[in-house]
């Protein structure tokens, strides 16, 4: 295993220590592994808490700041944080207007956030709502799965919902925006290589030099199917087609997000974006905004995902609003 780390057991806390040093505007609680906005809690504003396993950087810690999250809980690599962390985060961002938990749909994340919400409400009376993101079209949403995974839409959602909270909207309104974004977002991902979990020390799966995985999530889990490697043009089709088959994206402008899984360089991501944009144009989808880069990653996995979000004027306005976080920054 080749990584810029010390003891694999210390990866998460040492990375948080580096984040704290690099971003003095954030307050990082190393003991509880929670990244806070420096000015949290913001009085009168709905507090936004997210979190999940580590290994997806910049998500979530890198999305803490004005116009986006108030706090993010960092779990072990690919392991949901524990309720204690979420309780600390929730209490720390409560500015009297309630707190929204943004949870990606994984059994562990959902169970731990549920426990945290119960605990916080019992302890402090803070009003907590949760929105569960489940946008991965690679997974069938049926009785026979744990439901769709939460992947790329989470990034767009945290930005947009962050802007809504910053505007002073109520908890019900902010939660409504979150649910709306989730309903309108769809993603599909692929991997050229496996990632290596530090504590495991070896790649999660073996992938021959001439094969790739289609329909992967963000935890190094194998995908839905393994196929021979293909040119970017064809990979773009394999990602875009199932998204367009799952929902209509022609009726309103979309935000198009091409995400890198961690080890795929920007050169390749832009090339992929070009392919995706061409396919969308051909399908009658109008791209209003775009995002290209590694924002929701899977450690050192090479590969990418595509997320489409059907927007409207409100969502576009919220997308364009100022944001000031380590991972996304504009207008500030």
């Amino acid at each position: 295993m080749k990584k810029l780390i010390n003891d694999p057991a210390d990866v998460v806390v040492e990375a948080l220590r580096g984040m704290a040093a690099a971003h003095p505007g954030l307050r990082v609680d190393l003991e509880n592994r929670v990244v806070f906005r420096g000015d949290a809690p913001v009085q009168g504003k709905v507090g936004l808490v997210s979190g999940g396993g580590s290994g997806h950087e910049p998500m979530h810690g890198g999305f803490v700041g004005r116009g986006m999250l108030d706090a993010a809980c960092a779990g072990e690599v690919f392991t949901s944080p524990v309720p204690d962390q979420m309780v600390v985060a929730t209490e720390g961002v409560d500015g009297g207007a309630g707190v929204l938990h943004i949870v990606k749909n994984y059994t562990g994340d959902v169970m731990n956030f549920d426990m945290a919400a119960e605990l916080t409400t019992a302890k402090t009376g803070v009003e907590v709502q949760a929105v569960v993101v489940d946008d991965d079209v690679a997974v069938q949403d049926s009785l026979y799965t744990a439901g769709r995974r939460g992947v790329g839409t989470t990034v767009l959602l945290e930005k947009i919902v962050g802007a809504a909270a910053e505007q002073g909207r109520s908890l019900a309104e902010v939660a409504g925006v979150a649910r709306k974004v989730n309903e309108r977002g769809r993603s599909m991902g692929m991997a050229l290589t496996s990632c290596t979990v530090p504590a495991a020390g070896r790649p999660t799966f073996d992938l021959p030099d001439d094969e790739m995985e289609i329909g992967i999530g963000i935890h190094g889990e194998p995908g839905r199917r393994r196929v021979p490697i293909a040119p970017a043009k064809e990979i773009a089709e394999m990602l875009v087609e199932p998204i367009l088959a799952d929902a209509d994206f022609t009726s309103e402008p979309v935000i198009c997000f091409v995400n890198g899984m961690g080890a795929s360089p920007l050169l390749e991501l832009y090339l992929m974006y070009g392919e995706v944009a061409t396919l969308l144009e051909r399908a009658g989808v109008r791209i209003a905004r775009s995002l290209v880069g590694p924002y929701i990653t899977s450690l050192d996995m090479a590969g990418c995902s595509v997320t489409l979000l059907r927007a409207d004027d409100d969502l576009l306005g919220l997308w364009d609003a100022p944001v000031d976080t380590p991972g996304l920054r504009w207008g500030a």
Partner: protein, 208 residues
């Protein structure tokens, strides 16, 4: 009849076994999950043993609640709440006693199973820890009903857990991360069922 010391020994033996089988659990979770079940269980049970050393609980109830709380606050993921709830419910059902009769032990363990069901809603055949735990508790009850000693009943339960674990191999996962794989989950042993088999084996090795 199991004493407080034996119950602690069980917990410690489970910790020892998950640490010993850490890489195996991770390898199983690599195939159909995210390669962290070994690390999760070893981290959690390591913290449990530390807490036990620092603050040995006086009753069965206190012991298992401490185990459960520690797992909930140290593990995360799916296994943290699931194992945490198992032990919390076990402790509540056991009560503030320093000894457990065989029947009381079995009842408490079943309360733990019910906790897992309440949290994760697993059903038989979903390819989860439930598929090792439920048959183990059925075997335990059946053996005890048939007049077996707790030791013999736990050996039967352990055999049933192992069989339940093995039976997860051909199953198509319907809960947890493995469900994302659809057909590709078939042919792999469930990591959670594997750690549950260690839990029951540890009981057979230390109790009764």
């Amino acid at each position: 009849m199991t004493t407080q010391d034996q119950l602690s020994a069980w917990v410690r033996e489970f910790a020892r076994q998950v640490t010993e089988h850490r890489d195996e659990l991770t390898a199983l979770d690599s195939a159909i999950g995210d390669a962290d079940h070994g690390a999760n269980m070893a981290r959690g049970m390591g913290a449990v043993v530390e807490a036990l050393d620092a603050n040995p609980p006086a009753t069965a109830g206190a012991l298992f609640k401490q185990v459960g709380m520690t797992l909930v606050s140290k593990v995360g993921g799916a296994s943290g709440p699931l194992y945490g709830t198992l032990f919390l419910r076990f402790g509540t059902a056991a009560g503030e006693v320093t000894e457990l009769e065989a029947a009381g032990f079995a009842k408490a363990f079943r309360a733990g199973l019910e906790g897992v069901v309440a949290r994760g809603r697993p059903e038989a055949g979903d390819k989860t820890m439930y598929d090792a735990l439920a048959p183990a508790l059925d075997a335990l009850d059946e053996s005890l009903d048939g007049g077996a000693s707790l030791g013999d009943a736990l050996r039967a339960a352990s055999a049933a857990a192992d069989a339940g674990r093995d039976a997860t191999i051909p199953m198509l996962a319907r809960k947890g991360r493995a469900s994302y794989l659809g057909e590709r989950s078939v042919g792999h042993q469930d990591p959670g069922a594997t750690s549950v088999a260690l839990l029951v084996a540890a009981a057979a090795a230390t109790l009764g």
